[in-house]
Assembly symmetry: C2
Homo-oligomer: 389 residues x 2
């Protein structure tokens, strides 16, 4: 599938040699027109140098993003800040913008200093553009244990004409609610007020990036940016439509992150229906999505409804367990507090699929929520027992 | 090591054939003198039949505990209650007590009905006593994926003379704060008021059974009972001493549960020191203890301090990350927001040990807390991908 960039952007990736293997590891996003920008960041008490810098720059109109993998530039002290600024100055020179108009983003090992010389050399050499090879090169430059580059793009139709939203993301491990080692760069060419963009991004994040779990761990570097450079005209009169499209792109990119979770073999959607409130629905969905026992059962293709109800029942908020029903795919497994006689063979066939939906119908209200998770495999343990060394 | 029972108790276990393999699966505790009893139970919304029954019986003076493994009697509807009561009636007849003076406890697969005939036959046949073989038989009768029976006993000295506290426990998986598939039976011969016993049990549980994590999952059947039959005399004037001894027994049995966590190869103590409050100390300790990334790093014997600080930093409450220090064993790895140069070889030797302490010194107050966890191995995934089938 061909992906497109919104008007006025170009992107690229370059192999600076920050990773052991020869792959792109420095990425650039450029916007010809300074873009209205909103961002959300990890709430971890230990935040990486680039996160601190982004929080200072995010109020400016943004012209560039400088991203790297192979090094998180977290827990690197004042040297880490100085290194990050040094690379921003290099990018500012090369692309004729202000340093304060650039957002940095890093992902990789914590506690290692940035290799500034290598990155600065990459900044000099990187070629940016807007065709598929450039998009792929950028998407690969932010990968860590990701196994595939993640690009989602969608065309909209505004009053003035067509517009585009394109999201690049990376995930793999340390993915949890309130984000994780998750980097997401959303580019669009619509014209939108900063406060509205921020509000839409935050609200849509609750039901997308904050509704996924790979391992329940939160990182020091999580960042989601949305740049809107206005080239395709205003969203005025189409605010709801734009919000739905933005949320759609965010949901798709969130699903890709989970699908490519470390060691994942299956993407599991946990849908909670007819809940007394949105909060309860989200709380129960996340309890199930984060349960190691549920996740290992899916890896084992085992219709273990008992672990699903245990996880749902561990939600601390108030709900009535009695009317709850549990479905795996189309199969009703649990109702009236007891399991039903179900056809194990049919359910097992559903469990053998790559994408599975667990539906929890609480039968006690109007609210709903979804969460996405992956199964938990030997491979997750292998990857994470070895990662640093 | 020989374990002892407090005065006036006898215990036993019998192989009723509830498990696939030929092992004890029905256990009995008898107290000659009706015992003052306190209990704490799972807060899961889906609670097993025996948990509901215990909550009704716990206000009575208790003469017996009837425990079984191989079947949790959870999600079994009214049939589950009737089955549990039927076994209680059988035990009441055999041991000449009231049904309402018996506490039932079940552990095993969820959603399966109790095999009443087998259990009732076991109740007829079981031989109880107070020597090591009886203690071992009871401890084995409550095992599920546990690999060893768990008995802790400690002798105290009261005014009237010696007294004893003995705890039997089982754990393995679904172990989380607020308990899990954890059954603990604490027996003592001291004389203590019910309200004080309950207060001591609850308070000590916060820093023991509520401070451990195997996989973060909470079960439908968790129960901790403490029976005190008064045979060895009153604790009057020695309340603090008794509390410390009780807490000591509970901590030791909690550690055994973690040590035998599913797939565990190491016991990890997470100690948080100099915290602004007990709540913050406990919160940070549990974030680290529950982190899958920390747990897989320990399995890989990797000095991955970055995951420890990420997990600590994900604690939502208020603390200052700047003065925090992180030690693995005696080795200081992190200070002033940056990692130190440490001797990888020496740290690796510490990581190769069976028991490891992670110390997080917040350097900002007087409070402290400890949590216990185990490493996360391939074996955890294997056990839990296969368990039901």
């Amino acid at each position: 599938m061909q992906h497109v960039l919104p008007e006025g952007y170009s992107v690229g990736g370059y192999c600076a040699g920050l990773k052991k293997w020869e792959k792109e590891d420095v990425g650039i996003i450029l916007s010809e027109t300074p873009a209205t920008t909103a961002g959300i960041f990890t709430v971890n008490k230990f935040q990486a140098a680039p996160v601190y810098i982004c929080k200072e720059h995010i109020d400016n109109n943004i012209c560039a993003v400088l991203a790297n993998s192979g090094c998180a530039n977290a827990c690197t002290g004042t040297e880490g800040y100085e290194n990050a600024f040094s690379t921003l100055r290099q990018a500012a020179r090369r692309f004729a913008v202000q340093s304060s108009q650039i957002l940095p983003a890093s992902t990789g090992v914590i506690g290692k200093q940035l290799e500034v010389t290598k990155i600065n050399r990459a900044i000099e050499k990187v070629e940016t553009g807007f065709i598929e090879k450039h998009l792929q090169a950028f998407a690969r430059s932010i990968m860590t244990t990701d196994t595939f580059p993640k690009i989602v793009s969608r065309q909209l139709s505004l009053k003035k004409g067509p517009a585009t939203i394109t999201a690049f993301s990376k995930g793999a491990g340390m993915i949890a609610p309130n984000m994780a080692t998750m980097l997401v760069f959303i580019l669009t060419d619509v014209d939108i007020k900063k406060s509205l963009l921020h509000q839409m991004l935050s609200q849509a994040a609750d039901s997308t990036y904050h509704s996924i779990s790979v391992d329940g761990d939160m990182s020091t570097n999580d960042s989601v940016f949305c740049l809107a450079n206005g080239r395709a005209g205003s969203i005025k009169g189409k605010e709801d439509y734009f919000y739905e499209q933005l949320k759609g792109v965010m949901e798709e990119s969130a699903r890709l992150i989970v699908k490519d979770g470390e060691g994942a073999t299956k993407l599991i959607t946990v849908e909670v229906k007819s809940a007394p409130s949105k909060e309860v629905a989200h709380g129960i969905a996340m309890k199930v999505a984060r349960s190691n026992l549920v996740k290992t059962a899916f890896f084992g293709e085992d219709a273990n409804w008992g672990r699903i109800i245990s996880a749902a029942g561990s939600y601390e908020g108030d709900f009535d367990p009695r009317p709850m029903e549990v479905y795996i795919g189309p199969h009703l497994l649990f109702k009236n507090l007891v399991p039903l006689d179900f056809d194990e063979e049919k359910v097992t066939r559903t469990l053998q699929e790559d994408e599975i939906t667990v539906c929890i119908d609480l039968n006690q209200g109007e609210a709903g929520a979804r969460a996405w998770t992956c199964d938990f495999s030997y491979e997750y343990v292998r990857i994470n027992a070895d990662y640093r060394t």
